[in-house]
Amino acid sequence: MRNLLFIVILIIAVLLRVFALSSVPSGFFCDEASIGYNAYSILHTGKDEYGVSFPIFFQSFGDFRPPLSIYSTIPFIDLFGLNEIAVRLPSVMYGLITIFAIYFICKEIKSDENDSLGLIAAFVASTMPWLIHYNRTGFEFSIYVAFFTVTILLLLKSVHNISFLIPASILASLTFYTYQPAKLIIPLLLLGFVIIYRETFLKNLGNTIAGLAIFIALSVPLILSFTGGQAFARFNAVSVFSPRLTLGQNLQHIINNYSIQLSPSYFISGEDTFITRHFVGGLTPLLIPTLPFLAIGVIYIFLTVRRSHASQLLIYWLFIYPIAGAVTASPPFTSRSIIGAPLFAILVALGITKTIKYLPLKKITFLAIILLITVSTIIFTQFYFTKYPLYSSNFWGWQYGPRDIISYFVQNKAKYDDLIMIGEFNAPEIFFKFYAPENCYKCKIGTPDNLLNPLRKQLFAVTPEYLITHPYKFITKKIIYYPNKRVAFQIDEVVQ
């Protein structure tokens, strides 16, 4: 029965993550395109987009991208071709791995409600907007949280069976190569874990040293990257530390960012950002009705902190989860601090099991809570698939448009000398590589202002805003609409 329920939970998780995967989120961000194209390039040439053979860090938009997300996308590109689904599917897979890990972590946490805790936590994780949203994107967040969660699982297993320490060390070091915040969080996790379970590690000093040695050995490329500046490129770009501010002001900023991520309004209203790729405009990281259970779960771990190592670990996890977000200049935090998602699934599940324990009619209470989460998920699903695309497809969101523009360019390339797309996207060149890797030699980024040549037959993709401020005469060939029916781009010929 438990296995059947777990399978049902996984089916729900898969459905929520793969339904309309190519169209929601509506658009395809340059980071996703970069991951996809580099995977494609490695698959076919063994080199990245800059011609480096099998790099450990991928140069990308001015910094260096950790490699695992790109390498793990290769099989999907090989199977499905270079398209949005192939780039987003690895995240779905890592989302499912995260749910598995959460389930087994709960089995390791020796709670008195051990039987149901894992299933409830898995259900909460499978329906959690925080995980669903990022598991549907081709970013590195999902691989990071999956590796992080599996590392915790293996570390917990190593407490009872020290032979798990070697795989845990390998996973911990590999997590460094998933997403930038891991460089900060993984050492903190290991430090805290060793302190909490010090008896175990002191008792097995030989294994502990072996594990540490493996961890350090596998981290050598990362350590070397510090000397080359690769490791700091992204941090320098987004970090909170500003030379214009005093140390005190910087610290105040960090504390502010940190406390935001623990405040109820963060979970009730979402993030304070205009970037609609993240949790704004009605999209919240957790289902609101699960918040009371989260509060109960948090209270529970604090009440049991003295007698339970598991509670100590969860509190420590809660303590370190916001740090990566806190040291960055501004939101979004949900992506950088995504390791909070599995923790909150476990805490909500703990809150639910405690609620059931102290209320009469346990079966009915359990059913009521499952119904509450199910109904909330239905409401979230409607919002996510029908309303979220309406406000999140423009420049500050998922930058909808390049696929349709380039598809039209490729179809009509024989008729024109130049196919020119306005640069209204972050790193727009990557989209030519992604959507037409060997097929768009005539494609360029620009506008009539800088590339108009009366001697050449040219096709321009521009925004309606551009047309208002630049009164060229156009013959419109195609109009591309955002999901909210507003004009996103016009593909035009300039009339001389």
Partner: protein, 391 residues
């Protein structure tokens, strides 16, 4: 006697089938019933579900204000049902073509009737009034309105029946709670069951039912898409006095408007107090208490429609089989008159105008309310007499 009842049952089965054939196909029996637009009630749910799936609201409006994305051919109502109920039923139905889903829903109605008959048969097969009870259930003429509209009220009846059965038979409070929840989900008037359950200390049933109901309501309450249900519920529950059902009498005596309104109002207060008196001091049985509060709703609730009276068919059946209604003329006669069609159909021959319609409504109210009050009086008199003798 059993053979006569069996013969009656066979007749009832045929007539019940004829209800379906006439309401859905031939319309032969339409002359016996007040008018109505087939599907008017039914389509509100698949409309709302389709609208929800397309990003609109659960009343049936798309985000651009367009109404009825599922069917726009007829006068489908704006959805008023519980959001979860709407989705549970509407989402599967809206995948079919409109009139196909209408007939599928009729199929579900037939299925619930078969389940009820099977359940009653299996539990009461030794009872000498089995076929009489089943006949009163199947012959209930108000089914015709329910079938023609393809209404959802039969689900309320269905779940209420099992709730009453579980409660009266002192069954499983978890099961009872689930049936209470389901009846509430189908129609919020199910809240009425709290009174008998509370008085008879079925606290666990109430707790279970309300907890489940809250679980599926709270997320819709704070979300905009479910607000309509709660504001509608608030509106209906705060404007239900006096009953427009009983006030249909006014059609006959328009000059005594204020007087009749006051009479109805005080009659309602008096009935309310009297029912409480019967429960608290005369210890009327739990089944009778369920019956009295059902009758209270039918008499005084602001928006009582013909099909609401279908629940009486089930209550008569169960009451007779449990020995709660007596096979005596003062109880059997009103039951029979509440089962057969009311005589207002005579006016269908002569009146097709608005006046005719109002007259029908008034006659219907007069007829059904009279016999219901007759039955309540007979039952209450018997209880008072029994309790006095016992005392």
């Amino acid at each position: 006697m059993k053979k006569i009842f069996f013969g009656l049952f066979i007749f009832a089965v045929f007539l019940h089938i004829l209800f379906y054939v006439s309401a859905l196909k031939t319309h032969t029996l339409d002359i016996l019933f007040d008018g109505g637009i087939p599907g008017q009630d039914f389509f509100q749910i698949p409309n709302a579900a389709r609208s929800f799936l397309l990003g609109g609201n659960l009343q049936g409006f798309l985000s651009d204000g367009l109404r009825n994305p599922y069917i726009d051919c007829c006068a489908a109502n704006v959805n008023v049902y519980h959001p979860f109920f709407t989705l549970l039923i509407g989402v599967p139905l809206q995948y079919f073509k409109p009139w196909t889903s209408y007939y599928i829903w009729e199929g579900v109605h037939v299925l619930t009737t078969i389940i009820l008959i099977y359940f009653i048969y299996s539990r009461f097969k030794e009872n000498k009034y089995l076929y009489l009870g089943l006949s009163l259930f199947l012959l209930n003429a108000f089914h015709y309105y329910e079938i023609r509209n393809s209404q959802f009220h039969f689900l309320f009846n269905f779940f209420s029946f099992f709730l009453i059965y579980e409660s009266v038979k002192k069954g499983d409070s978890v099961k009872g709670g689930i049936f209470f929840f389901l009846s509430l989900l189908a129609k919020p008037i199910g809240l009425l069951w709290i009174i008998p359950l509370l008085i008879y200390k079925h606290f666990k049933t109430i707790f279970a039912g309300l907890l489940l109901f809250l679980a599926v309501s709270v997320p819709f309450y704070y979300s905009d898409i479910g607000k309509y249900y709660f504001s509608n519920f608030y509106y209906v529950s705060t404007t239900s006095i006096p009953s427009d059902n009983l006030l249909n009498f006014l059609w006959f005596f328009p000059q005594y408007h204020i007087l009749i309104e006051n009479i109805v109002k005080y009659f309602m207060y008096g009935t309310f107090i009297f029912f409480f008196y019967l429960q608290l001091f005369k210890k009327a049985s739990l089944f009778i208490v369920f019956f009295l509060w059902t009758s209270f709703q039918l008499l005084f609730y602001n928006l009582v429609f013909h099909y609401h009276f279908t629940i009486l068919g089930l209550l008569f059946c169960l009451g007779i089989l449990l020995g709660e209604f007596k096979i005596k003329k003062d109880e059997l006669i009103p039951m029979i008159f509440l089962t057969i069609p009311s005589p207002f159909f005579l006016y269908n021959l002569g009146f097709t105008s608005r006046i005719g319609l109002l007259f029908n409504e008034a006659t219907w109210s007069l007829w059904s309310d009279f016999w219901l009050i007759f039955l309540i009086t007979a039952v209450c008199m018997r209880i008072l007499k029994e309790k006095t003798i016992n005392a």
